[in-house]
Amino acid sequence: MSVEIHINNVVKRYGDLTIIPGLTQDIRNGELFTLLGPSGCGKTTLLRMIAGFNSIEGGEIKFNEQVINDIPAHKRNIGMVFQSYAIFPHLTVRENVEYGLKLRKLTKTEIKKKVDDILEVVRITEYQDRLPERLSGGQQQRVALARSIVIHPSVLLMDEPLSNLDAKLRIEMRSAIRDVQKQVGITTVYVTHDQEEALSISDRIAVMKKGEIQQTARPHTIYTRPYNIFVSTFIGHSNLFRGHVQSTETGKAVVFADGYTVPMDNLSEEAGDGMEVIISVRPEEFSIQQEGLACKVRTKVFLGKYINYSLGFPEEMLLPDQPSIEFSQDLGHAEQVLEVGDTVTLRPNPVKLNVFTSDGSRNILRDVVHHE
């Protein structure tokens, strides 16, 4: 049945090229664990190492206490859902779902019952006698899901299963996957580079970059307390400001380059007086106030529930090379709508600020977790 996965210091090399230099991660029994990261960071590579389609050059992977490095893929009892669905075109929907069960020496009645049940769960009973070429993308992905779950795998592995679907179907399938996974209670590793998908579906997310895990945490934690600048900008938008720490008898504060000071009580010990830092503010954490950071509205995009402004700050206040500095105004609470060219004072919400070391490698707030 479902297992925990222990990944201990695994290494992946292609010739001289090291793709994964040594990665350690535990995945809990029954959770939906997402690997998120930019293209080429090694998500697929890691997933295929768990599946047994890629060799492991160092370290070990365990299912519960069993080391699986040398177990061939077809004996690992995994379920896999592919980006391309990989439905067997020569078999009907039902035969596709039966495929794995038939290899498992079950009686005819057992097979029939299991297949009937799973077709019901993923809601494709009515298409069971069709050939896959006549199914839509979403239906094909349901077949793939059913086919991989029906064998009761130890782990379910999914590599960007939704990326070939259109936006609306993607959201629908997202919750279908989530529901089925919870219903069956199966340890799942899910690969995506769509952050919204990751945030909405996962129990925990591991953010990867160049073969290394940057942070593992629940979606809410990842978003509100990113471990470093990479996580903070990769997931959602973050506006990055230069600043320094000010430490007085009354407490600590961060000071923006223009002198605006925000008192903070959750800075860690490390934050000493005068320390150079990067202050990160989410676009939705600004509000229009008397006091705050002065800036100019450059562009304005109306998005229905929100208005997105891009802001102009003096260059010395900002970290260089940012695509834009943004403020998104929730129309539900907006008292004043800005126009392009307006000068405005924005106050960042002190509780929601994140403060990083000047090289961006660590968050120096006290309540940050690297691995949750």
């Binding site: 492991i56 490095n69 077809h74 896999m80 592919f82 990989a86 794995g100 064998i151």
Partner: protein
């Protein structure tokens, strides 16, 4: 999965099997051929004397010049006829276009030497047309024997290659290219020369190579209709058959020369095509126009005439097979005598043909699919070697392959000559490369994730191959295999060297019957072959769902 240095599994077995087959039945015989080509017939010492003898005596080297000359003419004529036909068939409405196409394909697939033999029946010394012209008009029909006959028969037989290749390429020309050239002020014949011709040149070259190789290697046609006009395959054959022993070294030297010629041409063509090749795909194929007035009539007349001339051999053969015979002479009236004779005395030839080619095709299908899998999905230096080995049969003429096999397996411990096995293996060696190439192309279309899905569901890699990969490859491989089967039942040039009384096939029987001048039985046998070919072709159309014949 830690890679073990050596793991004995199914794929290792296939690797060894394919290397063994190609090594034992292709490379080793070829190697022996070259060795004996350089040996003195009496002492066995290394010598160049066989080659010296070849190039010193006009009688011998003339055959090489003849081969070159007739092959070049055939290729040039086939290019002109095939390209023109493809051009008009693709761009203009032709009535009964599919009938025309089917006829062209039939004449391509029909037994190669039937053409020669029926043109003899028509225009030979005692041919129908010759006698008719002589008795009624006292006109002496020009001799069909020699150069002219070979040229006529081979051109009519081989222009369909060019037609099929070029018609395929024309479908891939996007009409936007033509429109672009027209918008730049280019029209009429200039448009054809500056746009269409360059676009189809690589295709023409590919087709030309097929024509050249086939014409160069053809044995049956020049043997029957060539008479005094000696060409290399015939020369090699007669030197080899006449005096085995002493002459084997000399025949080997001639065969070696021929292999060198064909491989040079092969390499030259590859070089030119690689430099000129580009990918074409069309969103909107060129439009089909309707030609008006007298030009339309002329175009139709020419096309129908060409098809009629191409079909004459089959019709003549079928017709003569029903003529009454006495001994081996035709007498007035119709009968089924010829067929009766076949089933009385040549029944084994018929059954041999079907049995040998079917066994060969089954082996080809199995090896084709598994070896293609090895070379595309399990690439390594060993599979690269296999890949290279499988290119060899392209450049080895059938009669040369026959001789090499006979030379290599004529002695203990590998005494295989005279067995059915050696004929089957020669069929396998000759056709496997084609199946391999098409199987690899099919495999590239099948996503590896289908195989991974199957493995993740618990099927071992080998089970996955048979349950998923092979099943998905089969339709494509099957339709290729049917074409291979057709060429196998019609194969003459290596079987004619390898056969013995018990392993005679239909094409060999036709050849020997024609040599014995029993035209009736030869015609009946040819009719059976032609009918089988047509039936197999119809099955091919059904299985593949298209008329895309690639040989």
């Amino acid at each position: 999965m830690n890679k073990k240095l050596f793991k004995w599994d199914f794929w290792t077995g296939i690797t060894i099997l394919s290397i063994a087959i190609f090594g034992l039945f292709l490379i080793y015989p070829l190697f022996s051929l070259f060795v004996s080509a350089f040996q003195n017939a009496d002492t066995g010492a290394f010598s160049m004397e066989n080659f010296v003898r070849f190039f010193q005596r006009k009688y011998y080297y003339q055959s090489m010049i003849n081969s070159f000359w007739v092959t070049t003419c055939v290729t040039a004529l086939a290019i002109v006829i095939g390209t023109a036909l493809a051009y008009f068939m693709s761009l203009y409405t032709i009535r009964f276009k599919s009938v025309v196409e089917v006829c062209i394909i039939i004449s391509l697939l029909s037994p190669p030497f039937i053409g020669a033999y029926s043109w003899i029946l028509i225009g030979g010394r005692s041919g129908i047309l010759t006698q008719f012209l002589q008795t009624t008009f006292h006109y002496d029909f020009p001799s069909i024997y020699g150069f002219a006959g070979i040229l006529l028969v081979l051109t009519l037989k081989l222009y369909p290659f060019i037609y099929l290749y070029v018609a395929g390429a024309m479908k891939n020309i996007d009409s936007a290219l033509i429109e672009a050239s027209e918008s730049l002020g280019c029209s009429g014949i200039r448009k054809v020369v500056t746009v269409i011709v360059p676009l189809i040149t690589p295709t023409i070259l590919a087709g030309a190579l097929m024509v050249f190789m086939n014409a160069m290697a053809d044995f049956g046609t020049p043997m029957l209709i060539g008479e005094g006009f000696n060409v290399m395959p015939v020369m090699i054959y007669s030197e080899f058959i006449n005096e085995v022993g002493d002459q084997a070294n000399f025949a080997a030297a001639m065969a070696a020369i021929m292999v060198i010629i064909t491989s040079t041409i092969f390499m030259l063509q590859k070089y030119v095509v690689n430099r000129k090749s580009f990918a074409m795909s069309s969103l909107r194929p060129m439009q089909v126009h309707t030609m008006k007035g007298i030009r339309n009539v002329v175009m139709h007349a020419l096309i129908y005439l060409l098809v009629a001339v191409s079909m004459i051999p089959q019709i003549v053969v079928i017709y003569t097979s029903f003529l009454k015979t006495k001994g081996s002479v035709f007498v007035p009236g119709y009968s089924l005598d010829s067929y009766r004779t076949i089933f009385e005395s040549l029944g084994t030839a018929v059954s041999n043909t079907y049995i040998f080619s079917t066994i060969a095709i089954l082996m080809i299908i199995f090896l084709g699919m598994t070896v293609a899998y090895l070379t595309t999905r399990r690439k390594s230096w060993i599979t690269d070697i296999i890949d290279t080995l499988t290119m060899f049969p392209y450049i080895i003429p059938g009669s040369v392959l026959g001789i090499t096999l006979l030379l290599a397996f004529n002695d203990e411990p590998l005494l295989l000559s005279g067995t059915a096995f050696i004929i089957i293996i020669s069929l396998v060696i000759r056709r496997l490369p084609y199946t391999l190439r098409s199987s690899s192309a099919i495999l590239y279309q099948i996503s590896p994730s289908l195989e991974e899905a199957s493995i993740s569901l618990g099927a071992s890699p080998i089970k996955t191959f048979f349950r998923v990969t092979a099943v998905m490859m089969l339709p494509g491989v099957m339709s290729g295999a049917i074409l291979s089967w057709i060429t196998a039942i019609n194969e003459l040039s290596s079987s004619v060297i390898l056969f013995t009384g018990a392993t005679k096939t239909m094409s060999v029987a036709i050849y020997t019957e024609v040599i014995r001048a029993s035209y009736g039985t030869a015609a009946a046998l040819s009719t059976i072959l032609t009918l089988t070919t047509v039936v197999a072709m119809l099955i091919f159309f059904k299985v593949s769902g298209s008329r895309n014949v690639t040989l």
